[in-house]
């Protein structure tokens, strides 16, 4: 390697190793050395029913958020990709604006909507559909709604860029030959935008998995997820070993999903390009 390349890369590499990788490794080591055996900290973490429940809740919320954003994002992005000119620009701005707006603001909006005296309950009470307010806020549903609101624009953006590269001639050919719209969608369109689907899903899943603000504001104390548990164990309770165990569990789950989805995406992409060649 040239001397200049080393000179250009070294400052950044050193900073990342000293200020990020070293602190992360240093956080992980005591979780293995602190107990009686290497894994005893992890054994006690996983033996708590409460912790296992929190892991499953975190995964459930991330999976639901990904599925709902996909379900809403696929048609929306298709529509946006078919627009052009001024409308497309205006709509892109509407989609981008929430991404760049603070998460506290976006979640706070849903406290207003889902709360006991919130918009939904007020409306239903006035219409005499219900007599006492529904419990919507501080539930798993509220976290999922908040996370969908938070991540839907990211899903739409990933899908739009995929749809835009779509070869619409194949689609038209299938229609001319008499395929039903549903068949065209699943057999022609979906395979061609699989890269966008996986990119969007990875971003949304990992984002929802590790999100702190949404479960903190919309989930309350009862519906904890790994990120809020990590905050509670470290800042509130000062139990650093437990917090580190949670941190490693969260990081490992995030890594596994990223690697797995990336791998599936590559396999599918290879198979699709193979099929098209034949």
């Amino acid at each position: 390697m040239k001397k200049r390349a080393v000179l250009f890369l070294l400052p950044g590499l050193l900073l990342i190793f000293i200020l990020l990788i070293y602190p992360v490794i240093r956080m992980f080591i005591p979780t293995f050395t602190g107990g009686q055996t290497i894994f005893s900290n992890y054994q006690s973490f996983f033996s708590s029913e409460n912790n296992v429940q929190i892991i499953f809740r975190t995964l459930f919320i991330a999976v639901m958020t990904t599925l709902v954003t996909l379900g809403l994002g696929l048609p929306t992005a298709y529509w946006i990709s078919r627009l052009s000119g001024r409308w497309r620009k205006i709509i892109s701005i509407i989609v981008l604006f929430p991404i760049l707006t603070n998460a506290v603001v976006r979640n706070f909006a849903w406290i207003m909507i889902l709360g006991k005296n919130g918009v939904i309950n007020n409306f239903l009470m006035k219409m005499h559909i219900i007599s006492s307010p529904l419990t919507l806020l501080y539930t798993n549903l509220a976290i999922i709604i908040g996370a969908v609101y938070l991540f839907l624009p990211i899903m739409i953006t990933s899908l739009v860029s995929s749809y835009t590269q779509l070869n619409s001639e194949i689609e038209e050919a299938a229609e001319v030959l008499g395929s039903r719209p549903i068949v065209v969608f699943f057999k022609i369109i979906i395979p061609q935008i699989s890269v966008g689907i996986f990119t969007g899903s990875i971003l949304v899943f990992v984002g929802a998995l590790t999100a702190y603000t949404t479960p903190q504001l919309l989930g309350g104390n009862k519906n904890m997820v790994l990120a809020t548990l990590l905050q509670q164990q470290s800042i509130t309770l000062g139990d650093w070993t437990s917090a580190s165990v949670i941190a490693i569990v969260l990081t490992v789950i995030a890594f596994i999903t990223m690697i797995a989805l990336n791998w599936v995406s590559k396999v599918i992409d290879r198979r699709n390009s193979h099929e098209i060649k034949n």
């Binding site: 200049r4 250009f8 890369l9 200020l19 990788i21 602190p23 529509w79 603000t213």
Partner: protein, 260 residues
């Protein structure tokens, strides 16, 4: 064909409404006269905006968040620009590895980064909170800088640089007179995106703020725990105005597609 477009446009329209309405509601409630947030509002007042500027947590937090976001974004550019130049222009063995190391702050959950930095930098190294917070935000910004600038550098024709070398510019002058002006737009886009992400960040900030170091997003979070009055709506509106202003700058000079 038609039915598919009709179906997708109906869903798309509803989705857009769902994206805008909650934020529009926040704007409306910031003008309500009642002491707790209610929608629809009864009267009209600017009282909550006035109250907002009486809250030292919000005013100081706004200033501090601005300062941290600007310094962190500049640091990320300072470290990121030469790194991206090396990664895109030099023959580097295992280039992908280096690329991934530079993107690694985006791969580790932010809340884990916050906790790890707090343990090592604040507690073990005894660094001041402000410096540790800056380091955290610098790490947060770096992947955005790397990604946007890599795209910008790959778009830049290498022969322009070679032409400059041939007419006798040395490599340093070429870098500053030819390369930097040509990727100016990417640098601007990277700065705006870094700034917004640092300014809005909570998971890293959470661990490294304190009574002496107020940051705006965490101040709002704390305020929300004890209060439910339209001051929060008012501060939300201010944040939305800042976002809108940055988007207008980005749209005018760069085109919004540069940001995503």
């Amino acid at each position: 064909m038609k039915s598919k477009i009709r179906f997708s446009s109906i869903v798309g329209f509803i989705v857009l409404l769902l994206l805008i309405l909650p934020l529009a509601m926040v704007v409306v409630t910031s003008f309500g006269t009642e002491a707790t947030i209610s929608f629809p509002i009864k009267g009209f007042t600017f009282e909550w905006y006035h109250n907002l500027f009486q809250q030292p947590d919000f005013v100081d937090g706004m200033k501090m968040s601005f300062i941290v976001a600007i310094i962190a974004s500049c640091l990320a550019l300072l470290v990121g620009i030469p790194a991206v130049y090396a990664l895109t222009r030099f023959q580097i063995h295992r280039r992908n590895w280096f690329q991934n190391i530079f993107l690694s702050p985006a791969l580790i959950p932010e809340i884990v980064i916050g906790f790890a930095l707090y343990q090592t930098l604040v507690i073990s190294f005894g660094l001041p909170l402000f410096i540790s917070l800056l380091i955290g935000h610098f790490l947060l910004c770096l992947p955005y800088v790397i990604r946007l600038l890599t795209a910008g550098m790959l778009d830049l024709d290498k022969s322009i640089e070679e032409a400059a070398w041939m007419v006798g510019y040395n490599k340093v002058i070429t870098f500053f007179k030819i390369v930097i002006p040509n990727i100016k737009q990417s640098i601007m886009a990277a700065f705006i995106l870094s700034f917004i992400n640092s300014f809005n960040n909570i998971p890293i900030t959470l661990f490294m703020n304190g009574p002496s170091l107020n940051m705006l997003p965490t101040s709002i979070l704390n305020y929300l725990e004890n209060n439910y009055d339209p001051t929060v709506s008012a501060v939300s509106v201010i944040l939305m105005i800042i976002t809108a202003a940055l988007m207008m700058i980005a749209e005018k000079y760069l085109g919004l597609n540069k940001l995503v």
